[in-house]
Amino acid sequence: MEQIITCINCPVGCRMTVALNDQGEVVSVSGNTCARGEKYARQECTLPLRMITAVIPCENSEIPLSVKTAEPVPKHLISAVMNQLKKVKVAAPVKLGQVILPNVCETGVDIIATRPLS
């Protein structure tokens, strides 16, 4: 199987062709100009990862709390993560970097605050 993907690492935007075998393993990558492209293509075709950022309502605060996954998480879990976030309750004060939800969706990755709220 072949997959065409656009490299997102720089404005050149190389279009790469990735050949996959029946087990879904990457056999070859072509069309990239540099090594960053190949690395991205391999990841993107096997386990695409994304950072998730969001806001959640925060008690005692006029503005909501902005949060992120401390590391990128598998892309197919985006909506599961968002659903878990809907159930989270927080109240100010919150520190920057504070863990708001540990091990979201069993990914081993925490949701952390991206701003302090007092």
Partner: protein, 425 residues
């Protein structure tokens, strides 16, 4: 009325104002003041909760609020006074700043130097002439971003986005994640001005279609928006009859570009460049009015906040130097846009700069395997090759003071992009 006095007054506590203040204080300026009309510092970054900021400056990817916090913390550490909830109403050519706040009413502050760091704002609907009724449900993408990320409510549930700039793309993802359905992103040009990364991660990830060479031809709805009509356009950007599609939606977001916010600057008599819509400045970021400096998005619209901070640190150092010495440079070299280049900043460089000079500009089109060339008459000051230059990416080149040796200002410096003959690929 009593007049206060400060050595350096900075208008705006976004990343530009904060960096300028930090630099001036680090240079030993004790008497400085930052005025910010919002309730807290951080500027537009407060609402940019996505990540991707700071890769150049901090070598890590931060969200907007995290990036802003680093400068806020540093400013507080240095004891820099930031007065929030204070709006600057005017700046006079002799640097008297009029401002108003609920806490302290109307005030006049005399400043030894003023740094303009008011940022930019989005083009409103009026600037676009979108046809149709004037119903509720039409917002600029940045306004929607503010609603969702700072005020915590959703402006609508079924959304069409006009314009595929980065802010529009980011909002397509945000609205989707917060539960809305984004039906389409519509772009009049045959290409998107947004980053590839945002097209992939904000549209493709959520199967949101991008209609290139399309525009909104009608808007309908009585009180609230009910539908928009989208049609393909020809090469002259005129809608092609028969290609119309109707999208039922309650929200239309406009993401059609940013303009520097220069009412205050114009009031102070600062000359504005038609190419950048920002002030005309020297290599030390001084405007046409002595002692008034400008940096960040109010000077020219940046794509990367990292560049905003870098530029603003230099503006802060320059303002501090201005306070310390009264010796103004005597001879200047004009800087002009050459082929393939638009909006070069600075527009004037002193003939013997003491510091390295950074020249920034936007390519006017996409150029592959080309070189940016900075020259003065026959003398080439700098040549830099790149695989690609695009209008979406500002180019920054640094020239060492030695590069200016022998230049006397009789000829301008020209910044251009030279294309190699088309043998590539």
């Amino acid at each position: 009325m009593n007049r206060e006095h400060v050595d350096i007054l900075i208008i705006g506590a976004g990343p530009a104002g904060l960096a300028a203040a930090i630099a001036a204080r680090e240079d030993g300026i004790e008497s400085l003041l930052v005025l910010e009309r919002e309730a807290s510092p951080g500027g537009i970054l407060r609402q940019c909760i996505h990540n991707g900021f700071g890769l150049h400056r901090f070598k890590e990817e931060l969200t907007g609020p995290e990036y802003a916090q680093r400068d806020i913390d540093r400013a507080l550490e240095l004891g820099i006074p930031i007065e929030c909830g204070t709006t600057v109403l005017s700046v006079s050519p002799d640097r008297v700043v009029t401002c108003v706040s609920q806490a302290r009413g109307l005030r006049f502050i005399e400043a030894g130097a003023v740094i303009l760091a008011m940022g930019c704002r989005e083009r409103p609907r009026g600037a676009l002439c979108t046809p149709g009724t004037r119903c509720a449900g039409i917002y600029s993408a940045g306004t929607a971003q503010r609603f969702v990320n700072l005020e915590g409510f959703m402006p609508g549930q079924k959304v069409v986005i006009l314009g595929s700039g980065d802010i529009g793309l980011i909002m397509a993802r945000r609205m989707t994640l917060q539960g809305a359905k984004v039906l389409a992103c519509v772009e009049i040009m045959p290409f998107s001005s947004g980053l590839n990364r945002n097209i992939v991660q904000c549209l493709n990830d959520y199967d949101i279609p991008l209609y290139l060479s399309h525009t909104v031809t009608n808007i309908s709805g009585r009180e609230r928006l009910e539908s928009v009509t989208v049609a393909a356009v020809d090469e002259h950007r005129r809608p092609i009859p028969g290609t119309e599609m109707v999208f039922e939606c309650d929200t239309l977001l406009l993401s059609v570009g940013l303009i520097p916010e220069n009412e205050l600057s114009e009031g102070a008599g600062v000359r504005i460049s038609p190419a950048t819509s920002g002030a005309v400045v020297t290599d030390t970021f001084e405007t046409s009015v002595p002692g008034i400096f400008a940096c960040g998005n109010v000077l020219h619209v940046h794509d990367l906040v990292d560049f905003v901070s870098d530029e603003s640190f230099r503006a802060g150092h320059a303002a501090a130097a201005f306070i310390r010495s009264s010796a103004a440079p005597s001879a200047w070299i004009d800087v002009m846009d050459g082929n393939g280049v638009r909006g070069t900043v600075p527009q004037k460089i002193q003939t013997n700069p003491a510091q390295p000079v950074q020249i920034m500009f936007r390519p006017s089109a996409v150029f592959r395997n080309a070189s940016a060339v900075i020259s003065c008459g026959k003398k080439e000051l700098l040549r830099r090759k790149a695989m690609i230059f695009t209008p979406g990416e500002m180019v920054a080149c640094t020239l060492k003071p030695e590069a200016f040796e022998g230049l006397d200002g009789s000829e301008p410096i020209r910044v251009a992009i030279e294309e190699k003959p088309q043998e590539q690929r």
